[in-house]
Every structure is written in structure tokens, then in C-alpha cells.
């Protein structure tokens, strides 16, 4: 298992940059009602980005939501999951929306947390049925699309494991962060060379999110490219 980490040095994501990127990301999220928010860790300045999603297995989407899907389609949402028939994404029923609570409904919770050890973001996630029963690792694994499974099975450091959330102390699942630099480095280098603003969080989340059922509407990328000044 020999990897050259030397090149990772210049593409480390400092904690300051992480926060700035998250701020920018959440700003855009609010403008499109994508429901990402910043959560503060109790009694400290640390925090993380959080989003909750309700999903149903494909085929059991209540008819009332068809219009929602069309609206999201117009926004150019990445419909990887829909195409592969894994999940239809539904919005968290906020105020006044009635939704069929069938046995297949699952509540997903995603956190974007900063790792100072790897100087990169890490995606923590957990899922439970509406009765509170948490999904097991096997059940999470079942829901990963086959294409991604091949990639995940290639090495012990790429797989999904259960891990304690560093700020909440509760069990979550993660995609191990030690290889983040490998796929992020070329993306960051390219943006530098082309003098193009890049929100590292947006780029990173668009890569890892879909593996675990989290899609990013394309408007995040177009919003980022409108920024004139890149955060350091």
C-alpha cells in the first residue's frame, strides 16, 4: 500500500478555507431551498454542515409528488439515482405537506465535518426508518448502486464503515477520508491553472455524495463560477 503523499501538501484544505467554502455553499443552498444548514458544536466554535432527507424506495412515490419531481428536473438536478432506479428524492415534509408514511420511508442525515488529521472534509451519514430503527451497515450497503460498489470494494480504505461522530459522539457511517486527496488534487490543480474559482466543498461533495444517495443540483457549480474572488 504505497502512496506518495508529497503532492497532497499543496492541496490541503485548511480549516479556515473549509468554513468559507461551507458558508458559500450554505448561502447557495438557502437560495434554492436545498436545506443544508450549519450546526454549531455545543460550547465551542466548531461546527458542521447538516442536511436531512426523506426517501422512499422507487415505485412507492405518492402521486402528489410528481409535480415536485418535475420542478427539480427543470433545475437540472443530477438524477443519477432516478436513472438507475435506486431512489426518488423527496423533500423533508416541512409545514403542512401530507405524505404517505409507508414502511419503505427512510430518513437520511448527512453531516459534512472537517478532519484536521487529513485536512479534508469527511461525509458522515446515518439513516433510520420512521419508527426510529437505525439502518445497519448491511442495509446501507444494499442501497449503494452497483457501479459504486466496485470502486468501494477495491481497497480497505475506500469502504463504508461505522465510526463515532467526532463532535456528537454517536455512531455514524463514513467513507474513509484518507484517499480524498487523490481525487481532489487534479480538480484543485486544474482550477488553479485555469484561474477559476472553485468551491472545494461543492466539488468534493458532488463526487462522494452520490455514492451514498446524496445528489447536488448543478446550480451549485454555476453559482460558484460566478464568484470573482477565490478564498485562499
Amino acid at each position: 500500500m504505497s502512496r506518495d503523499w508529497g503532492s497532497a501538501e499543496d492541496v490541503c484544505l485548511g480549516e479556515q478555507t473549509f468554513r468559507l467554502c461551507c458558508e458559500e455553499f450554505i448561502q447557495h443552498s438557502r437560495s434554492i431551498n436545498d436545506e443544508w444548514d450549519w450546526e454549531h458544536s455545543q460550547g465551542s466554535e466548531d461546527g458542521y454542515m447538516k442536511k436531512i432527507l426523506l426517501k422512499a424506495a422507487n415505485g412507492s412515490t405518492p402521486p402528489a409528488w410528481d409535480d415536485q419531481r418535475n420542478v427539480q428536473g427543470e433545475k437540472g438536478e443530477l438524477e443519477l439515482e432516478a436513472q438507475h432506479g435506486v431512489y426518488e428524492e423527496l423533500e423533508d415534509p416541512g409545514a403542512g405537506c401530507s405524505i404517505t408514511t409507508g414502511p419503505e420511508m427512510t430518513r437520511y442525515e448527512y453531516h459534512v465535518v472537517y478532519s484536521s488529521s487529513y485536512q479534508s472534509p469527511v461525509l458522515y451519514f446515518r439513516a433510520c426508518k420512521l419508527d426510529g430503527r437505525p439502518l445497519s451497515l448491511e442495509e446501507i450497503w444494499e442501497r449503494v448502486h452497483d457501479n459504486y460498489k466496485d470502486r468501494l470494494l477495491q481497497g480497505p480504505w475506500d469502504t463504508i464503515t461505522q465510526q463515532e461522530h467526532p463532535l456528537l459522539g454517536q455512531p455514524f457511517f463514513i467513507l474513509h477520508p484518507c484517499r480524498t486527496h487523490e481525487f481532489m488534487t487534479p480538480i484543485i490543480q486544474a482550477a488553479k491553472e485555469e484561474n477559476r474559482h472553485l468551491n472545494v466543498i461543492t466539488a468534493w461533495l458532488s463526487m462522494v455524495g452520490p455514492v451514498v444517495g446524496l445528489a447536488l443540483p448543478i446550480s451549485y457549480a454555476t453559482a460558484a463560477s460566478k464568484h470573482k474572488t477565490a478564498p485562499d
Partner: protein
């Protein structure tokens, strides 16, 4: 005066006398006696409690036995924390033996990670070692090792083989003279009074000007309440492996000698005992 290498042995061979009692609501075919064990401070609960499971298996039906989990005074014990850390954090100033309660039902999904096989423990252990090396050497030392070296670290821990473990671990404790120490020190500071499980941040063992950082410097930066002011009353004990190191101890030395096998310094900050 103990040789530095003796410190490594003392840390490795530390033991905690423990009694395991079955939770009263578990369904048994006859009364279950407590089971006594000397637990290695540097190991993990699920790695060393097979005998505990077998002992209680004798008085229970297989269908009444789900995944075993352990608890101390109502607090589920996180198997992925080293045993010595759990003891220092939860039972430091109580009488021995450490009384742990054994459960086979109602696994606390919100508190504990599942541990379905030794491979899960190995993966967790290696993941900690990798993270520690990312901090110390940007991961260069661990990534240049062969798979069999990684395996030797794990087997050394699993089989309680000090020499086998340290034959490889000594490489993870090296640094160049110019650097004066590791890049950053792998540490975690724990306390029971906060929701946050631990404090872990970047901290250098030596300043840019060449000054050595001490344990006291680390605490002042990360958890200032743990450092007693000159004219104040001591409110906390700072414990590693059951001892309170002097705050002037260089952090680099602590990292090389008092780290757990996962290469992290796990530091407990506990309130002063009231008696």
C-alpha cells in the same frame, strides 16, 4: 531512574482487575456467577472478553443472546476506546475491581458501534494508526510499510507480544533531527462532562523558534480549565495510563513513550475526587 524503554514495557503490560456481572434482567437458566479478568490497559474490550461471553453462554439460551455489550454504572462502554482510557475516564478513583455489567439485549444503537468480528477491531485499530501517522509524518511512514508490517502491528496487539509490536512501531516513532520531533502530535483529550466526545486539533511538539511544547502547553491551548492557576485550587486531574504526568513533561517525549498502541495519546481530564 527508569530507562525510557522500561516505560514502554510498563505501559504495555498495565492491567486492570475487573469483575463482569450479568445484568439482572437477562434471561438465565440458572444463576450466573460474576467472572473475573485482568484486562490489558492497551487493548480493546471486544478483543479480550471472549471468555466473558463463553462464561455467560453456559447459563443462557442461544436465542436470548444478541450482541454482547458492556456498561459501567449506566454508561455503555465504547469498545473502540482503549480499555485503559475507559477506566481512567469512568472509574479512576473508585475501588478495585472495576465492576462492569454485561448485556446481551437492547443494544444501545445510539451510543455504541457494532463489533461483529475481530476484523472490525483490526480495521478500527489500523485506521487510528494511519490517522496518527498522517499527523506525525503526513502518512509517509505507514504508507511505505508493507502489508505484512501492518499485520504485525495488529498481531502484536492481539497476541500481547510487546517485541513483535515494537519491532514495527519503532519506525512510527522516528523523526529526523532537523525536524526536532513529529509534524503534529496525535492526541485526544476526553472528559465526561461534555457532549463532545473528545478534543482533537493540530498541535506541534516544537515551535518554529525551536521551543519544546509541554503537556501544560497543550492543555493551556486546548483545555485551559485543566491547568490550575498559580493561586487557584486544583479542580481536575490529567490522567494518562492511570498516572498524572508532570505538566512540564515534553509533549514529544509523551507521544513517543505514553501513546497507546494506536499511536495516540489518550488523555483523560477528570474532576478531582471529593474525599
Amino acid at each position: 531512574m527508569a530507562d525510557d524503554k522500561d516505560v514502554l514495557r510498563d505501559v504495555w503490560f498495565g492491567r486492570i482487575p475487573t469483575s463482569f456481572t450479568l445484568y439482572q434482567d437477562e434471561i438465565t437458566e440458572r444463576e450466573a456467577d460474576p467472572y473475573y479478568l485482568l484486562l490489558p490497559r492497551v487493548s480493546y474490550l471486544t478483543l479480550v472478553t471472549d471468555k466473558v461471553k463463553k462464561h455467560f453462554q453456559k447459563v443462557m439460551k442461544q436465542e436470548d443472546m444478541g450482541e454482547m455489550w458492556l456498561e459501567y454504572e449506566g454508561t455503555p462502554l465504547k469498545w473502540h476506546y482503549p480499555i485503559g482510557l475507559l477506566f481512567d475516564l469512568h472509574a479512576s478513583n473508585t475501588a478495585l475491581p472495576w465492576n462492569i455489567t454485561v448485556h446481551f439485549k437492547n443494544f444501545p444503537e445510539k451510543d455504541l458501534l457494532h463489533c461483529t468480528s475481530n476484523y472490525v477491531i483490526e480495521a478500527h485499530f489500523m485506521s487510528c494508526i494511519k490517522e496518527a501517522d498522517a499527523l506525525k509524518h503526513k502518512g509517509q511512514v505507514i504508507n511505505e510499510m508493507q502489508k505484512k508490517d501492518h499485520k504485525q502491528l495488529w498481531m502484536g496487539l492481539q497476541n500481547d507480544k510487546f517485541d513483535q509490536f515494537w519491532a514495527i512501531n519503532r519506525k512510527l516513532m522516528e523523526y529526523s533531527v532537523e525536524e526536532g520531533g513529529f509534524r503534529y502530535i496525535p492526541f485526544r483529550i476526553y472528559q465526561t462532562t461534555s457532549d463532545r466526545p473528545f478534543i482533537q486539533k493540530l498541535f506541534r511538539p516544537v515551535t518554529a523558534e525551536g521551543q519544546t511544547h509541554t503537556l501544560g502547553d497543550l492543555l493551556k491551548e486546548m483545555f485551559s480549565a485543566a491547568v490550575t492557576p498559580d493561586d487557584g485550587e486544583k479542580k481536575y486531574q490529567v490522567v494518562i495510563h492511570g498516572i498524572e504526568p508532570v505538566l512540564e513533561t515534553p509533549l514529544q517525549w509523551l507521544s513517543e513513550h505514553l501513546s497507546y498502541p494506536d499511536n495516540f495519546l489518550h488523555i483523560s481530564v477528570i474532576p478531582m475526587p471529593t474525599d
